[in-house]
Symmetry: C2
Subunit: 205 residues, 2 copies
């Protein structure tokens, strides 16, 4: 008869549970993730999760907010504080976005689950769109306009859907999620290609 040892850690629990949750979600997806497995990974009993999150759905919502929150806003700083050519700024922004979105296993996982389960979580989908996608698009738009204003970029680029510029990044994210085993992606090299083709596609001369 071994004694059952319990630990009371009201403060630390939520974060521990979120960490365990995204780990399991990333491995097997939302539908295949069992609450019991998340609990096991967090080193607690299943019931404990329900002390902090009412349902599985709410736990997922917690995961999204926790791991997406810190990203937001950083991009904005870049563009206002930077002095230099628009070209340099664009290149820097793209690399930054790769680091934040493609380079983060957690954020790739969130994106993947929103792709698969998005219809069941419309509020999270629009949250993601509002906080990540449309911010990114706005940023691209702003940078392109700046480049045109400074005479570095062609004027026609203003008629291009800014999402096109972000496109290759999404592909890289998708690739790392599903094809990396069969054919690993060198993100560094890929990102260089992305910057290169965008720069050329956008600049005058």
């Amino acid at each position: 008869m071994t004694e059952v040892i319990r630990k009371r850690r009201k403060e630390a629990r939520p974060e521990e549970i979120l960490a365990a949750a995204i780990a399991v979600l990333g491995e097997v997806g939302f539908a295949n993730a069992r609450m019991a497995d998340i609990a096991k990974r967090a080193g607690i009993a299943k019931g404990t999760i329900y002390l902090y999150f009412k349902t599985k759905d709410e736990l997922f919502q917690g995961v999204v907010q926790h791991y997406l929150g810190p990203t937001l806003g950083r991009l904005d700083d870049l563009k206002t504080n930077f002095e230099g050519t628009a070209a340099e700024l664009v290149a820097m922004a793209i690399r930054h976005a790769y680091r934040e979105l493609v380079g983060s296993w957690e954020r790739r996982t969130i994106m993947r689950i929103l792709i698969s389960e998005g219809a069941r979580f419309p509020q999270l989908t629009s949250y993601y769109h509002r906080e990540v996608i449309s911010r990114g698009i706005l940023m691209v738009k702003t940078l392109l306009e700046r480049g045109v204003a400074q005479g570095e970029f062609r004027e026609e680029v203003l008629s291009i859907n800014p999402a096109v510029v972000m496109g290759p990044m999404i592909m890289a994210s998708v690739w790392k999620m599903i094809f990396d085993e069969v054919s690993p992606l060198d993100v560094e090299e890929y990102a260089r290609g992305h910057v290169e083709i965008v720069m050329r596609g956008v600049m005058k001369a």
Copy 2:
């Protein structure tokens, strides 16, 4: 007491079931798709599905093969039979790919489910990679080489990962799957932007 009317349609069943299956899969995803719903949509009883497909997994495999099969190979014809500038050919290839992949609800659905459930179907994932992705990449690579050989494209483009060129298309696909409700995508206009930026990014002068 209404009579139960049964129809015997051994030949037509598999295709009817596959059609019902992809419809349901596209609406709710693999994990949330119930065999009973697929049966209902096909106008048959649940047990009937199992006369033609051993398991749910196998049914999904059938869906992928059925709706992906016809795509393959068409792209190849394009490049061998076409006489013209490499630039025209690239533009045409991109537009063609949009029509085939982004424009088809069924193929977007398959891609979405492979993203979410890919880990559970490694053989399907590698099938998709082999038959769709790496073909696309090879095609891009070939076209770029041709453009360089004909002196239309810059030589540096050969060092760019061809997947970058396909990237925006993947984004369009993802977008239509999850964000179209909150912010609908004009695929035509988006594709034009894609062609434009790639052409500029790739051509000399």
